[in-house]
Symmetry: C2
Subunit: 147 residues, 2 copies
């Protein structure tokens, strides 16, 4: 069911997932965008600062985005994002981790300058199978009001 700005209410919380992250995906993403040893070389990673291979933080953020598109945003109303605040990667993501997204709407207001548009601020946490946070971020979304 399509969501519009009016459906995003401050205080709403939802959880989605989990998604499982494979070693193959970690390597594939990192070879293209973040080829540091602890992301692309399992042997070097073992001796490195994280004691093993970990996902690029941008890969983790991209997995979060996919969950947002699949479960939280609507093609009918999503108008993109001006940016994000305070993204943190408190714990690494390792091969086989299962990530669940928890979101809370912390602000929702209509745009003063652009009629028909709302501004929704969401506090998002991804946790792994041990309930450890692996990504926290506050994101802003532009959402169309109901026609």
């Amino acid at each position: 069911m399509d969501r519009y700005f009016e459906d995003y209410q401050v205080g709403m919380t939802e959880s989605f997932g989990p998604v499982t992250v494979t070693e193959e995906e970690i390597l594939e993403f990192a070879r293209r965008f973040d080829p540091q040893p602890f992301h692309v070389d399992p042997v070097a990673a073992k001796a490195g600062p994280f004691g093993g291979l970990i996902a690029s933080g941008w890969h983790t953020a991209s997995l979060m985005m996919r969950l947002l598109v699949d479960h939280y945003l609507s093609a009918a109303s999503s108008l993109g994002s001006p940016g994000i605040d305070e993204l943190r990667w408190p714990n690494p993501v390792r091969p086989g981790d299962r990530l669940t997204m928890h979101i809370e709407i912390v602000q929702a207001r209509t745009s003063q300058s652009r009629p028909g548009r709302g501004i929704v601020r969401t506090s998002t946490t991804l946790t792994n199978q041990d309930d450890l946070p692996v990504l926290t971020v506050t994101a802003v979304s532009f959402i169309r009001t109901r026609p």
Copy 2:
């Protein structure tokens, strides 16, 4: 040449690139991680909020990361990142855009809790071929001190 913490000095500025973003890459990234119409469907995108296909903001951020790995970080000293602050996408990235990265080191200090480690804060801007900013972000990197 390998860089260590001591080589990252406050006030240093550098520019890298450009990298060209193709439509094929935009579609490929977005189909996997951000399948919103204005990222994956050129026809729908034309009628959408950006008047054409644009890259996922996470794709743009990942392209920045690749430039950082290729030109700014060193495998010998990079110890990952705890997170980023105030990431903004002030203008969209479109197929064929050529992106240049400009960085400035805004803080560099040794870690109190982890000897042998420095904390470097970098202000980064990606601009397109028209000198319009498409991504601005303040990032924190952990960097090994010179052995």
